[in-house]
């Protein structure tokens, strides 16, 4: 039996009076890639941002139900949201390097978490950049501003930055949507490496991408989790008609 890393039970989310996630229950398996697909506005990004409580920053939002990570409900009152975010890394849709050097970008998470040891930081930065498959491209210019990198490199830098704080889960919100096919391929290959160490949840609006990279796929629509299964089953014989319609491109 596979280990469940994240267990979502009857999770609801509201922006003010808008009910954007409706009674979601699903189990996300450790060291697998779970893809989340669905038409725009279906709540897939909101769902992702619920797993590291990034939605907390939105005024007037409200969550109900549980999201357990390692048997601990991250919405219970005694949880420090900062600890959650260290454990659950996130890569955003639009790569968002900070206007600092490449080195400082990756070291940022360590420094704010109180790491002082210079050698440890240097080692960790190199390791994270290697793990994000960008080390060879940047090793000679670590002190250059991160904005000098290409879009695909910036996104891998952001992945390295997330890896540096040693998360257990990696959330990716359409990480390749702004990238060209070559850069996208690099990110996808990278994810296959990363899942050996991390549990990955990725939101994508690209069906082929979901089929290529994910082990499990969840289909969201209008805030409901319509269907959730092994990717192979989802894309060949989904149990619901609406899933099939979406996957075959009849709407969305």
């Amino acid at each position: 039996m596979k280990n469940v890393k994240i267990k979502v039970s009857n999770f609801n989310f509201y922006y003010g009076s808008l009910h954007v996630l409706k009674d979601i229950s699903m189990e996300i398996v450790e060291n697998k890639v779970t893809g989340i697909i669905g038409p725009s506005g279906c709540g897939k990004s909101t769902f992702l941002r619920s797993v590291n409580r990034m939605n907390d920053t939105i005024l007037g939002s409200r969550a109900e139900g549980e999201i357990m990570i390692d048997e601990k409900n991250i919405y219970s009152e005694d949880v420090d949201v900062v600890d959650i975010r260290r454990k659950v890394g996130m890569v955003f849709q639009k790569s968002n390097p900070f206007p600092k050097s490449i080195f400082e970008n990756v070291a940022y998470g360590l420094k704010i978490n109180g790491v002082k040891d210079k050698y440890y930081i240097e080692e960790k930065v190199e390791k994270s950049l290697r793990d994000a498959a960008i080390w060879d491209e940047v090793k000679d210019r670590l002190n250059k501003n991160a904005f000098e990198l290409s879009g695909g490199q910036q996104q891998r830098l952001c992945i390295a930055r997330a890896l540096a704080v040693e998360p257990e889960v990696l959330l990716m919100d359409e990480p390749a949507s702004a990238l060209d096919p070559t850069a996208t391929l690099k990110i996808e290959e990278l994810m296959q490496e990363l899942k050996k160490k991390y549990t990955i949840v990725i939101v994508t609006h690209n069906m082929q991408q979901a089929a290529r990279i994910s082990d499990f796929t969840a289909f969201f629509m209008l805030g409901d989790l319509i269907e959730y299964d092994l990717t192979g089953i989802m894309f060949t014989k989904p149990s619901k008609k609406i899933t099939e319609d979406y996957i075959t491109g009849r709407f969305g």
Binding site: L59, F92, G109, N145
Partner: protein
Amino acid sequence: MKRRDVDGIIGFWILRLCVAAVFAILIIILYDITSKGIGKINWQFLTAMPRNGMTEGGIFPAIIGTVLVTIITAVLAIPLGMGCAIYLNEYAGDTLITRIIRISIRNLSGVPSIVYGLFGVILFVQLMNLGTCVLSAGLTLGLMTLPWTITASEEALKNVPNSYREGALALGATKWQSIRTNVLPYSIPGMLTGTILGLSRAAGETAPILFTGAAFFLPHLPKSLFSQFMALPYHLYIMSTQHHAISRVRPIAYGTALVLIALVFAMNLVAVVVRYRLRRIKME
């Protein structure tokens, strides 16, 4: 020629004339003051005390007075204004109360400076019993500058992309850490730009210091923050309207005006340089 071409040309020239008119007025004022004041400017004028009922000598105490008051203004307005702006932009939500606060701040920047002067008399001179002095005047100008500082600082904070904040939070930064390390470094130049512009405006104000500390004639420097002082704008006002021999001191008035304009111009120049550097950092 087609009708719409003619329309376009007329519109273009009307706009151009507007700019030319404004520019011409500016040039005339600057030319008038510079041509009549420059002859008065020399080392002695800048560094000597006024003498002989202010008909001779220099404007040294007025320069020092204005500089001192502006420093106090900065000491009050910069930290307080930036603090308010950070709270309003980063922490305060969009509620009815914060909206009222924001509107009030914007309205305060339109309150006539004489009203600040009267308020300063009541609060600092009388209620806090500081007396008419450098400190009271500086604090009054500081209050007057606050709305400008807050508004400019809030704008500067708004210019920092939200992704910097979210990126930091997602790495396990606390809210304050994300602000301190990933928002403030990129907004402080913009904050300073707005603040310096506000300060340069304060340095040229007469009404708020009129009742709170500026003296008609003091042939010495202020001994402490609790002394009265001379200031450039007030000195200029005296020399051009209140002096018993106005025509004789006219050159001194022009010289004072020129020094005051130069001071304000220098501060604005600093603001421009700061802003330029900010842009360069953003481009990198």
